[in-house]
Each structure stands twice: as structure tokens, then as C-alpha cells.
């Protein structure tokens, strides 16, 4: 593989860039799936810096024979659909790497270093040759990339047939031709430059190839797999793709997706549906969650199960709509007035997002309280490859849900675990789900006895959850190490890569934010001499949470609050400076 950093997984990397509408993302995804079907594992990073001249999109696809968990700073091949891509990204090309561009366009490549190979291809002209009606320039380029990397064109053609199935045979054939023309052009003109990075892996015999998907998609799939029956989600970057997937598949899988008028309605509709007895969810980003905060506590007070997905982006206000941040941790932990059991879980990658989403539905039902799945934009919108999801071990557990009529039913009966039988309207059982403080039946009350009883009952659920469900932080690298990285969310991928460069550094990945694994974390951190906190925010919100819960202070912090992903190279560089760290 091409990009070699001591210790870190060798990957090959292609970056595709162009104006919005040039099909950068769809081209990139086709390439990623071609790689996955050829036996390679992938991680891609999508960036669309909307503030630079009318929407410049780039996507970097990294692939390797081993698991790839993060992007790289550099690329082996840049596919430029416009001058801007060359100007902005050619510095990321390492010596010996190459640039694909349209040789008929007047693009300026004079600034490029001498050791970069130029692959001028008449993309537009070949696209016209493939189809007179539509322009498949990106497919020509894709064929060329497959050619340059020694890939199997038939794999791409098969993918084209599947992806364009709805668009008809003509479109499929024209696209196949476009890919063939790009491929042939490379074989004819740049045969000596072909590097077989994408040569199909011979012993890759798995009948089902890797899945390639984003966190948004894995959350939607996780929700469906968990038996979710109602979702009301208002569109917002970066989570809109969750609702796209849910909207598309609702009839087949029998649940309802409803687009509400705003996020306030979204959460209240989901609460209503859950109260009526079906698994419900909503999703939003930080700004939408601001509107949902009142509903968040309503679910807590009425003890209504609810899964809320919060995909963070740069904030405050409208902030950086298309960039990532981890600035909402403390917000989600404290949102809404007063106190109620908030379960907050933060997955670190796309598969974890899938698993935690499924788990969140069981937890919400078990504890009859809202569960937040906190994502960041890098998880929401980047793709990674995983072995085909297996849900055979998952059991839908609706907890103490009661659909039949029982004698002397008491909705908020004070039980030792804090969880009472939850009847549904229409079951014949009478009760009130009340946003006012209430008695065990649900009647409004302001009596001291009732208030104390209900507060203790609700908060008891968190204690129970901590004792029976909370998971310890995951440790990567040596169990004990002098140097420890602490982080959460999508940084996981880059840190796991960076870790491979060192001998005596480990990484503690935290997914349970509330309840918080304070004791186990304190024990882990007490073994370490130097703790580096890595986060995508300004104040080190996780570091503050750790100090609050354990009293442990971080030695150092690597914080990025510019919306950009933290690359493994940055982490390696930062750790290398620490005295006593042993590099591999």
C-alpha cells in the first residue's frame, strides 16, 4: 500500500473533488463499494466546505487489506473535476502519487510538484461518447481510477447495474460504457503507471462482501432492526440521511416515518406514539435538540421510553452546518430544567452506532426514560466497511409493557427498581401520564410525600441502569500503560490508528456518558502517568466530565474546534513529543 506511516495501517487513498453536483459523493461511494467487493476494507471521509465558493465537495476513500478506521492527511491519487480541487488539495499528494484531470479543460497544473504524475484524460469527450443525453464524466473518471489501481472493471460494472436499476437499462449500459472508456484510456496511455492497489484479493471468498455505510444509515438500520415502529424527524444536517432511509423503507418494514413541522413537534409526536405503545424515536442535530429539550424532560417526567439521536455539528447557532464537532456533550447531559434520568450513549464508529441504537431501544423500554444516542458529523456522514451485520443475538425487550387489562392497575407504582408496569391507552387500564408531578395513579399533586416518592422512583432507574447495564470504558492497546489517551466519538478511529505507532500508550474509549463509569475509569487512569484528552471542542467537555465524576485531571489536551476531523498523523505527532513515549 502506498501511504506508509510507521506503525499505522498502510492504506491506499484516492481523493475525488469537484463542484457540488458533479457527483463527487456518488462516485466516491461507488469506488468504496468496488474496493469492498474486491476484498478491501475502507474508510471514507466526506467534506463539503460550503463556505468556499458555491459548494466544493471532496471525498477521500482509504482502502487497505486491514481494517481502516480513519482518513489520512495525504492521498495517492487526486481526481479533480475542477481547478479548485487542484488548488486546494494537490499539496496533499505525496511524491509518486498522481492527478487525474480532464486534459481538454484548461486546468493549471503548473503549481504541482515535479514528482506527481499527471494523468490527463479527455473525461468530457469520453463521456459524450458514452452517452449523448446525459453526462457521465464521473463514471469515466471512476473507470480510469479502477484502471490505474489495477482493479476489476467487472466489479464496478456489476455495481453500476445495481445502483442504476431504477433508472433503466439505457442508463446502465451508458454508464458501463463510460466506465469502460475511462478504463481503456488508462490501459492504453498509462499502462506503465498502473499500481495494483486494488487487485482483487484472491482468498477473499466471503459470500457476502463488506457492508459500506455511514452512521446515519447504520442508525436507521439499527432502529428498524430493533423493531422501531414510529419515527418523527425534522430534516437537519448532519442527520437528514437517517430520515431518508427511514422514509424509503417504511412500507416494506411496516413502521411509520412522519415529517413533523418542527423539532418540538417531532419529539412530542414520538412521545405520543411511545405512550400509545410503539417503539419510537426522533433524531436531530444540536440546534434541533435545543427545541427538543422541553420534550426530553417530558419523556423523563411521564416515564415514556424514547430514543433521541443527536448528531453534532459545529455550533453555536447555525454554526458550521456541514462540519463536525463534539460540543454538545455537556448540553445533552444537562438539557432540560431539573433532574430526571437521562441515559446518554456516544458511539465511536458506524458499527457502534448501529449496536448502540439497538441497545438504546431496549434501555428506553426497560427504564421508561429517554435515551440519547450522541453522534458527531464524522460518524453520521463518513462511510466505513464492516462485516455483514448480524443481529441474531439481539432480543427485543419491551420491559414492563402492559397491553392487557389488569385489576387495580397503578401506573407509577413505587417499585424497588423504580420501574412500574406501563399500560397503554386503550388497554382498559386507567391512568394519567402527567407532566405535572403526580401520584402513583398519575393525578397532579404537590404533596411532599408524593414528590419525594416520585423523584426517588425516577432517579432510582439511573442507579439500576448503572448497576446492570452500564458498560466499562473500552481499552485499546496495552491494558496498563504509562501514557493514556482518553477520548470519545469519532476520534476513536484516528486514535486506534495512531496507537499503532507506540509501545507504551493505550487508549480509553468512553461510550457511556450517563450513567458514567466513574469507578472503572478512575482505576484505569490511576495506572497512567500522563493522560491526553482528545476532543473536537474548545473546552474539553469530556475532560471536565471526568474531573467532575472522578476527580482525575487530564495532563494534556488535544482539542480541535475548527470542524475538521482529527487525523491520526496529528495524534502521532503530538504524542511523539512526550518524553518517555516509546515509538515502534
Amino acid at each position: 500500500m502506498a501511504i506508509k506511516i510507521k506503525g499505522i495501517t498502510d492504506v491506499a487513498s484516492v481523493k475525488i473533488g469537484g463542484p457540488a453536483g458533479a457527483g463527487v459523493k456518488s462516485t466516491g461511494l461507488m469506488f468504496a463499494k468496488t474496493a469492498a467487493r474486491s476484498g478491501y476494507q475502507i474508510y471514507d471521509n466526506v467534506e463539503f466546505p460550503s463556505l468556499i465558493r458555491g459548494g466544493h465537495n471532496v471525498m477521500q476513500i482509504n482502502f487497505s487489506t486491514e481494517a481502516v478506521t480513519s482518513p489520512r492527511k495525504n492521498s495517492d491519487l487526486l481526481v479533480a473535476f475542477d481547478q479548485e480541487t487542484i488548488d486546494l488539495h494537490s499539496t496533499e499528494l505525496l511524491p509518486g502519487s498522481g492527478l487525474i484531470f480532464d486534459s481538454d479543460e484548461k486546468l493549471n497544473t503548473s503549481e504541482l510538484k515535479k514528482d506527481i504524475s499527471l494523468y490527463g484524460i479527455p473525461l468530457y469527450k469520453l463521456a459524450k461518447e458514452a452517452s449523448e443525453k446525459e453526462l457521465f464524466t464521473n463514471t469515466v473518471a471512476l473507470g480510469a481510477v479502477i484502471g490505474l489501481f489495477g482493479g476489476n472493471l467487472e466489479t464496478l460494472k456489476q455495481l453500476i447495474a445495481e445502483e442504476f436499476e431504477d433508472k433503466g437499462n439505457e442508463v446502465i449500459e451508458e454508464n458501463k460504457k463510460a466506465a469502460q472508456l475511462g478504463y481503456d484510456y488508462v490501459l492504453k496511455n498509462f499502462k506503465e503507471s498502473i499500481k495494483e492497489y486494488l487487485k482483487p484479493i484472491d482468498n477473499f471468498t466471503s459470500p457476502i462482501p463488506y457492508m459500506v455505510l455511514t452512521g446515519n444509515e447504520s442508525v436507521a438500520l439499527g432502529a428498524i432492526a430493533a423493531g422501531m415502529q414510529f419515527a418523527s424527524i425534522y430534516p437537519m444536517s448532519p442527520i437528514s440521511n437517517i430520515l431518508h432511509v427511514l422514509a424509503t423503507n417504511q412500507e416494506k418494514y411496516g413502521y411509520i416515518y412522519k415529517q413533523p413541522e418542527d423539532e418540538i413537534s417531532a419529539i412530542n409526536m414520538a412521545i405520543g406514539a411511545s405512550f400509545a405503545g410503539v417503539r419510537s424515536m426522533t433524531a436531530t442535530s444540536g440546534g434541533g435538540f435545543c427545541l427538543m429539550t422541553e420534550g426530553y424532560g417530558l419523556a423523563g417526567m411521564t416515564e415514556t421510553p424514547l430514543v433521541i439521536v443527536e448528531g453534532m455539528r459545529g455550533a453555536p447557532a447555525t454554526g458550521l452546518p456541514t462540519w463536525s464537532e463534539q460540543g454538545d456533550l455537556q448540553f445533552v447531559l444537562h438539557a432540560h430544567q431539573g433532574e430526571f434520568p437521562r441515559i446518554v450513549l456516544a458511539p465511536g464508529d458506524i458499527k457502534e452506532a448501529f449496536d448502540i441504537t439497538m441497545q438504546a431501544f431496549n434501555l428506553a423500554d426497560k427504564y421508561q426514560t429517554p435515551v440519547v444516542v450522541l453522534l458527531d458529523k464524522n460518524i453520521c456522514e463518513n462511510d466505513q466497511s464492516f462485516l455483514f451485520f448480524d443481529i441474531s443475538n439481539y432480543k427485543i425487550d419491551r420491559g414492563k409493557l402492559l397491553k392487557e387489562k389488569v385489576d387495580d392497575y397503578i401506573r407509577y407504582k413505587d417499585e424497588p427498581d423504580g420501574v412500574s408496569q406501563r399500560a397503554i391507552p386503550g388497554s382498559g387500564n386507567f391512568f394519567l401520564a402527567n407532566s405535572d408531578e403526580h401520584t402513583q395513579v398519575g393525578y397532579s399533586t404537590e404533596e411532599i410525600k408524593d414528590r419525594k416518592e416520585m423523584m426517588q422512583k425516577r432517579m432510582q432507574k439511573l442507579t439500576m441502569c448503572e448497576a446492570s447495564d452500564m458498560q466499562k470504558p473500552q481499552i485499546f492497546g496495552p491494558e496498563k500503560a504509562d501514557f493514556t489517551i482518553v477520548s470519545w466519538g469519532s476520534n476513536k478511529g484516528s486514535i486506534i490508528e495512531a496507537l499503532k505507532s507506540f509501545r507504551n500508550v493505550n487508549f480509553v474509549h468512553i461510550t457511556w456518558m450517563n450513567p458514567f463509569p466513574a469507578d472503572s475509569l478512575k482505576k484505569i487512569l490511576s495506572e497512567s502517568k500522563y493522560i491526553l484528552d482528545v476532543e473536537n471542542n474548545y473546552t474539553g467537555q469530556l475532560a471536565n466530565l471526568i474531573r467532575e465524576k472522578t476527580g482525575v485531571e487530564m495532563t494534556d489536551k488535544l482539542l480541535r474546534y475548527d470542524g475538521r476531523i482529527i487525523y491520526p498523523e496529528e495524534i502521532v505527532e503530538r504524542i511523539s513529543y512526550i518524553e518517555g513515549v516509546e515509538t515502534i
Partner: protein, 284 residues
């Protein structure tokens, strides 16, 4: 079912003479007539004096947040479209805090019955102007007279797409009970603007005022004419407040057009995930 079956251990805490007492009475009367009970009916309320009703009525209910009764009710209806879903809301709750939800529920024609307890001010917070307060009226928040024009909730409902739009006066209890039954039977979004006095804080909209200034629409009134209904909904003044069904059209409700619940309500279905692998395969 008897009237007593609907009683809870709590007695109403509204002021003597409050219009809510009549609305509560009418609801119970209609419930007994129609058999609305815990097997088929759910009440949802927002926050305001109206919301207390849930504590005195033995039908399973959800007391939500201020302004948010409608979306909760919408979620309930989508999850279990067999239920009769009643939304109790106030003029502040429905037209102020929850105005957006009201618009969109009308637009979508959800099969809900919205009972708008309209006393033309905020009563639970002790007498401030609401979106239904007439211009010039002095309240605690408008000591020099309300500078704002009022909203006409039924005109909004008609404009937004509600398919059953009616007005009642709380004092005419038997008629109100019958109207509630008719509204519930209507498939689609029903709104009843229930004019009610706040005997403590509203010294203008009293029982006497409503009795003097309201009138029932004539028998030959055509409630299917949207343009005329809209004009009626804007009518207000001395002896000029119309009561009865202003607008009624047949149109498929939102719920009736969802294939997933065309046969069985969601809550009675088992999630259909047996062939989930087919969906996963799309991502390979």
C-alpha cells in the same frame, strides 16, 4: 357506562361558574352516550386551566406541555388509529405556544378532535392577554389596552385545511355534548372553538355576554361552502357570534391513507424485521 364511572377521587378545582365545568360536564355526557372509556378513548391536554380536566375524568390521558398537546395526540393516533383521540387545549395553549402545531394538524387532516377551551385570556397565570383577546382589552399584561388584533381560530382552521370546524358556547351543555359526538364521528381533523367565560379574570366575555351575542347558524346554512364558512369564521360582534358547524367536508384523513395501518393499528402489529438482511444487502 354511568356518569359516576367517569369520576375520579378529585373534584374540580375551577372557580365556581367557570366555563370549564360545563365543558367537563358535556364531555362526560357525550362519553356516557357514546361509550367512550378506557378501552377506546384517550384524552390529551396542554397546560392551562383546561388541563386540570384530566384529573377529574376517569379516561386514560396524557397531560403534556404547554402548547404541545396536538403533536402528542398526533403520535398517539398514528400509533393506534383505533382510539378516539381528544385534544383539550386553551386559546393560549393552542394559538400562542402551540400555534404552529395547530396549523399543521389542520393541514394534514389528522383524525383528531380538538376542543379549544377559549376564554380569551390566560387564566392559570392569573389574567394576561392571549392571542384570542380582543384589541383594546385591559389585562394584567396590557394595562393600557391590548395593542394586538386577535386571531380568529376557526378562520385559521378553515384556511389551514381542517375538515370539521365548529363553535360552541360552554353554557349550552347538551348542544356542546352533541357537537363533541359529531366532531368525533367526523373522519379527519375536527376543531370546536368552545367560547367559555373566565369568571375571575375576564370581565367582558361573561356568561351573559355569550348568551346575548351568540346565535346558532340557520338550518339552511351550507357548511360545505369553504368561502362562506371562512366569512362566518371572521364574524364577531354584537349579536354576531355564530355557533354550530361552520364548515364540514368529507376528505380522507391522514391516517386513512397510510398503507402500513390500513388493516391493523401499529400498536397491534409485530415489527416486521424477518427480512432485514435484504435491507442490509443494499449497503454492500
Amino acid at each position: 357506562m354511568k356518569l359516576e364511572d367517569l369520576h375520579t377521587p378529585y373534584s374540580p378545582n375551577w372557580c365556581p361558574g367557570c366555563g370549564n365545568l360545563n365543558i367537563w360536564g358535556a364531555l362526560k355526557e357525550a362519553a356516557v352516550k357514546e361509550g367512550w372509556d378506557n378501552t377506546n378513548t384517550v384524552l390529551v391536554a396542554g397546560i392551562g386551566c383546561h388541563g386540570h380536566l384530566l384529573n377529574f375524568t376517569k379516561i386514560t390521558s396524557f397531560e403534556g406541555l404547554h402548547g404541545r398537546a396536538i403533536p402528542v395526540a398526533t403520535g398517539i393516533k398514528l400509533a393506534n388509529n383505533k382510539l378516539n383521540v381528544f385534544v383539550h387545549t386553551g386559546d393560549g395553549d393552542c394559538l400562542g405556544e402551540g400555534g404552529n402545531h395547530f396549523l399543521h394538524a389542520c393541514r394534514r387532516n389528522h383524525d383528531l378532535t380538538i376542543l379549544l377551551h377559549d376564554n380569551a385570556l390566560y387564566a392559570l397565570t392569573t389574567g394576561q392577554a392571549s392571542p384570542a383577546t380582543r384589541r383594546g382589552v385591559k389585562t394584567k399584561s396590557t394595562p393600557s389596552g391590548n395593542p394586538d388584533e386577535p386571531l380568529y381560530p376557526l378562520a385559521i382552521a378553515i384556511a389551514a385545511g381542517a375538515t370539521f370546524v365548529a363553535r360552541a358556547y360552554s353554557g349550552y351543555m347538551p348542544e356542546l355534548a352533541d357537537l363533541m359526538i359529531e366532531a368525533n364521528k367526523h373522519v379527519g381533523l375536527s376543531v370546536i372553538d368552545i367560547l367559555q367565560p373566565c369568571v375571575t379574570f375576564n370581565k367582558i366575555c361573561t356568561h351573559e355576554f355569550f348568551q346575548e351575542n351568540t346565535y346558532y347558524l340557520r338550518e339552511d346554512y351550507d357548511p360545505t361552502n369553504r368561502r362562506k364558512a371562512f366569512m362566518k369564521a371572521l364574524e364577531y360582534g354584537k349579536k354576531k357570534i355564530p355557533l354550530g358547524v361552520l364548515y364540514k367536508v368529507e376528505k380522507p384523513s391522514y391516517e386513512s391513507e397510510i398503507p402500513q395501518i390500513s388493516e391493523t393499528p401499529l400498536v397491534e402489529q409485530t415489527p416486521n424485521i424477518e427480512n432485514i438482511d435484504e435491507l442490509f444487502k443494499k449497503y454492500t
